[in-house]
Each structure stands twice: as structure tokens, then as C-alpha cells.
Symmetry: C2
Subunit: 224 residues, 2 copies
DNA sequence: TCAAAAGTGTTAGATTTACACCCATGA
DNA sequence: TCATGGGTGTAAATCTAACACTTTTGA
């Protein structure tokens, strides 16, 4: 106690970059701030870290508050700690990104929190350093997706290869050759073809696939 | 003010993983803790974040305190925020790693701080979650080195290709083929051969090379 | 003269990229 | 019947990995 007291404490918050894949586009949730400072500005959803919870737990809790979902795929982006980043008080924020399947996210809940989905390529100016957080989160998420099969977190549990390809295109920000893409997918045993056919997006119908977590089981050679 | 006060503040610290390359080995600095809690345990060097400095500034300052060096290559590893990570009080720590050239680090200063260099493969049990920090820092640093020419930060400004190769081997933890390595280096214009010869490590002598930051200037295709 | 580290090219295999047409179906 | 998205293979080019001997010089 004696030692610590020479130093000053800070408020700690968490801010969430929540990625969703919708209408062929990678989007994140933002909302207008309902509190000062910065009331009315576009902002990430966040919360404060309580004294009885770890920073990771604070992030999970905050994600749950907003989405009603637990066990989301979530990773820490980093600490943002400029002195004046919060115009009111000294607040250091730890940013997290999460991947959600938009179909599992209740629309009413989204609206109740005043959040909207915005295309990652059309993000407006955000409160404080939130644009920086988004930028870093996006880079990390891209990197993650390129080396681990986490993209499935953004899709329904059954998906077509075209959907999967569009997702990868949206994340990488570039077009992918269909044949090459499917060739690589075929080599991944943990992406299973089902007998089901999706007819919503074409007359012919497309096979539905499923991610098999057990088969993946840390298959060490993943690369997309 | 009204809003923030509903929440609780925490102490914020920074902890530094300082990498050096010495005797053909990748090492980090650790020392015995001189304060409670954890007095006498092996630990990373750290410090508290002051109210008038950003978290990054606190890390730079802490690195300067320990090494006497400024403008070190430094990157944030992440926030470590388990509730009980510090047995005394609630302290959240932001870890940073830095790369230093051991020749520029004054031995007396090292000893004055009670720090020693330990091989990254022989790190003892450390205080609190410091082993976790080291593990993550090492992974990030490996990743960084594989995509950006930051290895030079660990070497003298003039170095031989054998030294450079040993460095990469130590970081990657695997042997590299000499001819393939040199082939790749030759393609990098920003690694310049000088007319100077180093005779300390062989009778024949080896050419000394130099990293040319200007030529690098974010050459977008780096890969080692 | 010999031990020790420096230096140097080629080839086979693996991976990556580019590329175009037929299929099934509902409207 | 035709418009729409689904589905399929091959060949060239690039990149990666494996591999062994000669050179220089101080001791």
C-alpha cells in the first residue's frame, strides 16, 4: 500500500470493435455517444473495467451487454493511453475486437442500444482515438483470418462456398479467383460439405458447407 | 466527473521485455524484485504510468531509466489485467518489448539495476504473469522480424552476414541454410556491403554490412 | 600445412497464379 | 429459352528447399 500510493490511478475502459458480415460486406457496430464528453459523436461501444473483474472479463461482459451473446471470438487489440484521449478525465482504454454472426444478433437489441452496422470502408470520424482502434483491429483481424479459420464466426453455421469467398474478399479487400479458392478449401478437411442445398441465392442451388471444429483441432497447416 | 466516479480506478504499470543478441543467443533482461510484493523473485523491469504521461511515454521513460537509451525500437505487447495478477493491489500492466544493441548498453548501468541477460530459452519462473508477457512478446517479435527488417536494432551498425544469420536463427529458433540466406540478403538493396573487413571471428575475415534506412524507406516487399 | 570460417550456383519440387467453359434451374 | 450463379482442371511461372566444394589466412 505504501509503495503504490506514490503513484496515481487511472480509469480503465474497454472498447469493442464488433465485426459482422452482412450483404457481402464487412461491417462494424457503432453508435452515437449518449454521454459527455463527446455526446452525439459516433463511437465504439465500451464500458468501464470494474474492480472485481479482469480486463478480459470486462470486455466479455461489455460484449454481452450489447449483443446478448457469450463466448464470442474476441481478441485484445491493445491499450490506448494518450493523456488527453478522453477530454474529461484520464481514461486508458483497452480495445478488443470480436466476430459475430449477424443472424444471431437480435435486431431489436441492436436498435435498443442505438447501434448501426457500417461498412468498414465507410467509417465516419469517431470519438477520440476510436478510428485508430478500428484500424489496428482490422489489421489484426485480417492477419488472424489469413492464418486461422476464424471466418466461420462471421457466417451462419451452414454456408455456401460463394458466401465464404465473399467473406474472404471483404476481409482482404481484394478479389479472389473462384477456382483457386475452391481448390484450397477442398484440401481443408475441416470444411465439410453437407447434403443440403441453398436455393436462396441461385436457381440451381449451392451446396451448404459446415465448419468441423473437431477435425480442425489445431491442424497446424492452415493458410488461406 | 459525475459519470466516471461510479467506477473504480486502477494502478497502471508498464513492464519491459528487452531483447538483446549476445554470444549468438537471443536474451532478455531480468532482475530480482527489490520491492514487495514478490521481493526477491525474478521479474521484468517495470514502472508505473504517471498522470502526466501517455502509456507509451511511460514505457519509453522506463526503458530510458534502465538502459540510458532513447528512441529504442519498442512495441506494445498488450494489457495484462487479471484481478489478482498483483498480490498487493489492483494493478493492470501494459507490456512492451524493445530491441537493443547490447554493445550500446553500458555494463555498469546494467549492474547498477541488478539486471542480467538470460537466454530466452532458459528463462526461470518470473513474478506474477511475467512469463506470459515474455511468451507473447517473443511471438510478436518473431513475427515482426519475419516481415520487417528490425533485426538490425539488435546488432552493431556494422555486422557480418554470419552474425545476421545467427541472429535470425536465434529468433526463429531454427537453422537457416547459408546459401539461401545470403541469396535473399543480396536481393535487399537496403543491406549494403561496405569495404570494411571484420577479422575478429575468422582468419580470412568477413565483409561488414550496414543497414541503409533510407533505401529501405518502407520497401513494400520485405520477407525473410 | 591445416583448421576454421567465408563465400558461392544449380536443380528438383512445391506452391501460386492465371485463365474459360459447361451446368442446373426458375422465371 | 435464357439469365443467373454454381461448379470444374490445366499449364506456366514463381518461389522454396536441398545440397558441397573452394578460398583465405593465421597459427
Amino acid at each position: 500500500m505504501t509503495y503504490y500510493n506514490e503513484h496515481s490511478k487511472v480509469w480503465l475502459s474497454v472498447d469493442c470493435i464488433i465485426f459482422g458480415f452482412d450483404e457481402g460486406k464487412l461491417k462494424i457496430l457503432i453508435g452515437k455517444r449518449k454521454m459527455d464528453p463527446g455526446r452525439g459523436e459516433w463511437s465504439l461501444y465500451g464500458g468501464f473495467v470494474g474492480s472485481e473483474e479482469s480486463v478480459d472479463e470486462a470486455a466479455s461482459r461489455t460484449l454481452f451487454e450489447l449483443t446478448g451473446l457469450r463466448n464470442l471470438f474476441m481478441r485484445q487489440v491493445g491499450a490506448f493511453g494518450k493523456v488527453d484521449r478522453d477530454p474529461g478525465e484520464r481514461v486508458v482504454s483497452i480495445a478488443y475486437y470480436a466476430l459475430i454472426n449477424v443472424n444471431e444478433y437480435d435486431e431489436a437489441l441492436r436498435q435498443a442500444h442505438g447501434q448501426i452496422w457500417v461498412d468498414v470502408n465507410e467509417i465516419p470520424q469517431l470519438y477520440s482515438d476510436h478510428n485508430e482502434m478500428v484500424k489496428k483491429a482490422r489489421k489484426m483481424m485480417q492477419q488472424k483470418l489469413a492464418h486461422e479459420p476464424v471466418g466461420f464466426r462471421l457466417l451462419p453455421s451452414l454456408f455456401t462456398l460463394t458466401q465464404l469467398q465473399k467473406l474472404y474478399e471483404a476481409v482482404k479487400g481484394e478479389l479472389i479467383d473462384k477456382r483457386n479458392f475452391r481448390k484450397r478449401i477442398k484440401e481443408m478437411d475441416f470444411i465439410e460439405k453437407t447434403e443440403l442445398i441453398d436455393k436462396t441465392s441461385s436457381k440451381r442451388g449451392a451446396s451448404l458447407y459446415r465448419f468441423n471444429k473437431r477435425m480442425y483441432n489445431e491442424d497446424p497447416n492452415f493458410k488461406l
